[in-house]
Each structure stands twice: as C-alpha cells, then as structure tokens.
C-alpha cells in the first residue's frame, strides 16, 4: 500500500496497454451501468408521487417533506452525524500519530506487525469484529454498569482509524523530508518542527483521512447493528429495520440526501488529494 503515492508516471505502450484493447470502453460502460443503475433508480423514485417503489406516477417532493418531519429519521440522522463526527476527530488524531510513528522512524523490529494491527479492521471480516466487540462490551457493561453512546463511538473510532491512516501515511511519504531537516538545522525543537512545518504540509492528507473516516462511520451497518444500545439507532440501522415491513419512498429521499453528502465529501477528498506537494 505504501507504493501508491510513489509510482513514477507509466509510459503508455500502445498495443499492450489495457486501455487501448478492443472492447475496453464497452466493458467499462457496462460495469459502470450495472454498479450505478440501481442507485440511479433509487434517486429517481425518491421523486415519485405515489407510494410504490416500482411504478412511476408523477414528480413530487412530498417524500422529502415527509422524511424531514419523520421523528424516527430525524433522531437516527442526528445519532449518525454525532457518532461520525466524534469518531472522525478521535480516529484522525490517532491515525496521524500512528502515521508519523510508522514513517518517520527507521524501521524497527515489529513495525510491520504494528502496521498490520492498525489495519486489522480492514482485514478481518466485519461481522467477526462486530460480534467480538459486542461480547467484549457486554462483559464490561455487566462488570461496571456504565452504559451510553461512548461504546458505539469507541467501536466506530476503532474501525475508522485505518481509513484515516492510509491517506495520511501516503501524504507523509510524498512529503519532502528536507524541509523538516532544514527546520531542525535552524534550532527548532521537534515539537515546533511538527507544529510549524510538518502539520501544515500534512493538512491535505489529514483532511482527506478525516473525511474518509467520517463517511465510513456514517455508512457502517454491521458493527453498529451489534453494538448500538437503546436510543442509538443510526440511519443505516433505521433503514435496515424498515425492510421487513415494507419500505416507503421516505427512505429513498433520505438515501438520496446522504448520497449527496457522500459525493460532496469525496469530491473534496479528491481535490485536496491533488494538492501540490
């Protein structure tokens, strides 16, 4: 994964390069359509006038108004945003520290294991993490009697860390070490070097990592399903709970709004990621 940011531009060799093979653009378009057509239908039917999610009658914004007034949706959306925000802040701080330690030091024994542990949520199937977390928290709750949304936030922070870690580490490896060395040469103590030189240069990576962590936390279903306590239903959980008894287009409306938020955030990540070195 460390190689992503450091590959030199490839030379295009016509005839062997995949992009110029016959049928490539057709296959690409086919894949894009298969992936995004269901989402397009979802968005389209959020503007449908009647209750059905298959038969189109008329354009209407009623469902957005209904979703706005639905207390269950409001509460779930607030919980989602609150958890995502706090998890984003804490996991980005921890991920920054982790990235600095794993790139700015000479390789030490066990560094690879440390990186693997940081990235564990990416490698272990999510449901395994979810059940293990549930059991772990149940033991703590019964021993101490403390309950509350802190457990959910802790679980989200844990799996958001690798998502924040990746862009920050990529950015660190891209950065020119000579600027930090120059600052050190000019008698700046290490913390000042960090605060005045490294951090500003790192900011695009940190922002990208933070936004990625935010989105990932907002979208999470499986871990939240097992760990959330009473009153801690997030929006994806709310939608999942509606499925058995019939989904109304309010869900389409809410999904479209969240899709819009994700698209905007990912666009920002993309723009920040292209920042000059």
């Amino acid at each position: 994964m460390a190689d992503i940011a450091t590959t030199a531009p490839r030379k295009i060799i016509k005839g062997i390069d995949l992009k110029y093979q016959p049928g490539f653009s057709q296959i690409t378009w086919f894949c894009i359509v298969v992936l995004y057509a269901p989402i397009a239908v979802l968005v389209l039917f959020s503007f449908n006038e009647n209750r059905s999610v298959t038969v189109w009658t008329q354009f209407s914004l009623d469902w957005y108004a209904k979703a706005w007034e639905n207390e269950g949706i409001q509460h779930a959306a607030l919980v989602s945003l609150e958890v995502a925000f706090v998890a984003m802040v804490i996991s980005t701080i921890l991920a920054t520290m982790a990235a600095l330690v794993t790139t700015r030091t000479p390789p030490y024994r066990g560094m690879n294991i440390a990186v693997a542990v940081i990235n564990q949520p990416l490698m272990v199937p999510e449901v395994v993490t979810a059940v293990a977390t549930l059991i772990f928290f149940a033991i703590i709750k019964q021993a101490t009697g403390i309950s509350g949304i802190g457990y959910l936030i802790a679980a989200h922070t844990a799996f958001c860390i690798p998502f924040a870690y990746m862009p920050i580490r990529a950015r660190l490896e891209d950065m020119d070490l000579s600027l930090e060395q120059a600052a050190a040469d000019l008698y700046a103590p290490p913390f000042k070097v960090f605060r005045r030189v490294t951090l500003p240069l790192l900011m695009p990576g940190i922002l990208a990592g933070a936004m990625l962590a935010f989105i990932v936390s907002l979208d999470d279903v499986i871990i939240t399903l097992f760990v959330a306590g009473p009153g801690e239903t997030t929006l994806p959980l709310y939608i999942l709970g509606q499925i058995r008894r019939g989904v109304t287009p309010e869900i389409n409306a809410v999904s479209t709004v969240f899709l819009g938020i994700s698209v905007i955030l990912v666009t920002f990540i993309f723009l920040f990621g292209k920042d000059k070195k």
Binding site: V55, E71, V86, F137, K141, G231, L240, G241
Partner: protein
C-alpha cells in the same frame, strides 16, 4: 488556539460517554422496524410519565444475537412465537406473569395456552397472522382454497407464481400438500417432498420477500404471502383473493415480552399491562394491519381491518397451525432440501 479546540472536542465527546444514566422514568423498547404505533407510545408516555426509546430490528435472529450476551440495555422485545420458546429455554426472559395483571382478562382465551408460553407467564399477544397465498381471481377463476395451485398449477398460472424465500414456509406448505406431518424426520417422505418441490419449481417465476411489489407491478399473478401483505396488495390490485387452503396453513404470532435483567423492570411491567388494553391493541393493528388477539379492540380498529377477509378468517377455514421449532437433525435435513431447491 489549536489545543483549545482540541480540549473542547475532548470535553464534548466525554459528555457523550456518560450518556444515559438509568433514570426512574425510562423504557427501552426493541421491536421490529415500523411496527410500533408512535401515537400509542405517546399515550403510554403521558399516562405513566415514562420516557420511551424505540429501536428497530429486521429479524428475530438479529434480536437474539444482540440480547443473548446480556447488557443490551433493552427492557421490552417482541419476538415471534418460536423465538419466545427459544428465549424461555435459554433463560433470557423475565417471568413477569402477565396472567396475574389487571388487564389479562382482555386476552382472547384461545391465545392463552400456546405452545411457546403455556398460560402466558412471559409474554402477551402483539400481532398475529397467517401465511398463505393470494391469487388474481380474473386470471384463475376456480376454487382458490387449495395448495394444488402452488405445487401443481393449472396452465394459466404456470410461470406466474412467486414463493416466499423462507425455508419453513415453503417446506411446511409442501408437507401439508403431501399430507405429511410437520417437523418431519422421515427420510422417505422427505425424498418425496424434495422431488415434488423441484418439479413444482419449474412453474414458479421467483422466490422473493417483496410480495407486494411483485403483485402490484403484475410481475406474478399468484404469490405466497402473509395476510397483511396480501391485504395491502389488494388495495392496488382489487382482483386479488387471499386463500385459506383446506390442507392447512401456518399461523404466526409476535409477542411482547420483558428481558431478564431489564434496567427498568417496573416500567416494563406497566407497559405489558398497557398493551393488554383494547385501545393499545387497536392502535397497533391500525399501524401494522394485522389482527391482535385482545378482545374488544375492534371498536378502535380501522373499518377495513374488521371486515377484510385477510384479517378475519372465514367460518369454514381450518384453524391456523403454529409450528414449533424442529429438532436440529430435522432442520439440517430441511436445509439440505432448501439448498438443493435453490440451486
């Protein structure tokens, strides 16, 4: 400046951690999604000064996985019939004895001695229904009350049938059609069932839970379905008729119960008593569109619910059969048949 912001954020997140300290006036309900009438909850809140939180699950099994470990924080759950039996066996339910509460006289006597809770020591009826099939009477004009329409359909229904993607619903219907007992471990009979199902599958179009959408979009003309879904589909397609096969059919019932170790036990008991009032039951039926099992609730229910043939069983129909969970070896055999069928 940056460290000040940092401190503020840390302080904010710590207040979230302290979270809900268990107050005397709380109740945490864990029910199926979109299955609890919000007005009914408001009524309960006003009556007893209790603050209610409501969370939703999508299946009995998810709910069991969450509460099994203990410390889930929920007081009330609403499991299905077979799940109550499982939870009682695992010691997960509090023996609150609704049969001693003041409103118990409202519970319909035929729902008191049920296999999952004899005498009602742990739970009370919430909603109940049947699982059959519904068919367009303009496409098929004959007698609808027979399972032959699912397994040996006439020409006009071939390829226009949807079955539920539920192992128990499909296999039990098949066993009833062949007049074999449920929870069947007889290998010869199961082999015959397997052959019959595979042959019948050629006449089915799909196996899917989204029954209402399939019927209203005219994708299929006959679909296995729960009675409430059939009633809702009939609103958009009035020619649909719900069948009560003479061979027998499955009944299901969701029940309100209290978890062992519930943080707000007294409020949970108040809620159970409240749910046995005809008015609360009527409000639930109005939202969920099923029958409830509490006497006297008809005057609080919507007109259509008291007259719809899906909700009110016609006089000649056989009694619904509530199938208890089968032994593990039977479930394993069923799984083999189901996997083979889904190939």
């Amino acid at each position: 400046m940056k460290s000040k912001i940092f401190m503020m954020i840390m302080a904010m997140s710590l207040t979230f951690t302290v979270g809900t300290v268990s107050a005397a006036g709380d109740l945490h309900i864990y029910n199926w999604g979109n299955y609890t009438n919000p007005e009914m909850i408001e009524k309960f809140e006003k009556m007893h000064g209790v603050k209610v939180t409501l969370d939703g699950y999508d299946s009995n099994e998810t709910m069991l996985a969450k509460v099994e470990q203990g410390g889930s924080g929920y007081d009330i759950v609403v499991p299905g019939d077979y799940m109550i039996a499982i939870m009682v066996k695992k010691g997960l339910l509090e023996r609150v004895e609704p049969n001693k509460m003041s409103n118990f006289k409202n519970v319909d006597p035929k729902w008191v001695d049920v296999y999952w809770d004899e005498g009602r020591n742990y739970s009370i009826p919430y909603q109940w229904g049947t699982t059959n099939f519904t068919v367009d009477s303009t496409v098929y004009k004959g007698d609808v009350d027979t399972l032959a329409l699912l397994f040996d359909p006439p020409a006009e229904l071939k390829g226009r049938i949807n079955m539920l993607k539920d192992m128990n619903d499909v296999i039990n219907a098949g066993l009833r059609y062949l007049t074999y007992p449920r929870c069947n471990a007889n290998k010869a009979q199961l082999k015959e069932l397997n052959t019959m199902l595979v042959k019948a599958k050629a006449n089915w179009r799909t196996m899917d839970y989204s029954v209402i959408e399939k019927l209203t979009s005219k994708d299929v003309d006959l679909s296995q379905s729960w009675n409430g879904a059939a009633m809702r589909a009939r609103k958009d397609r009035p020619e649909l008729v719900y069948s009560y096969p003479k061979e027998g059919f499955t009944g299901w019932m969701d029940n309100v119960a209290v978890l062992k170790g519930a943080p707000n036990l007294e409020n949970a008991k108040l809620f159970i008593n409240f749910m046995m009032t005809p008015e609360a039951a009527g409000m639930t039926s109005n939202l969920a569109s099923y029958a409830n099992g509490i006497l006297g609730s008809e005057k609080y229910m919507r007109e259509e619910l008291t007259t719809a043939p899906e909700i009110v069983m016609p006089a000649g129909a056989p009694a619904p059969e509530f199938v208890p969970p089968c032994a593990q070896e039977v479930t394993d055999l069923y799984s083999k048949i189901w996997t083979n069928l889904n190939k």
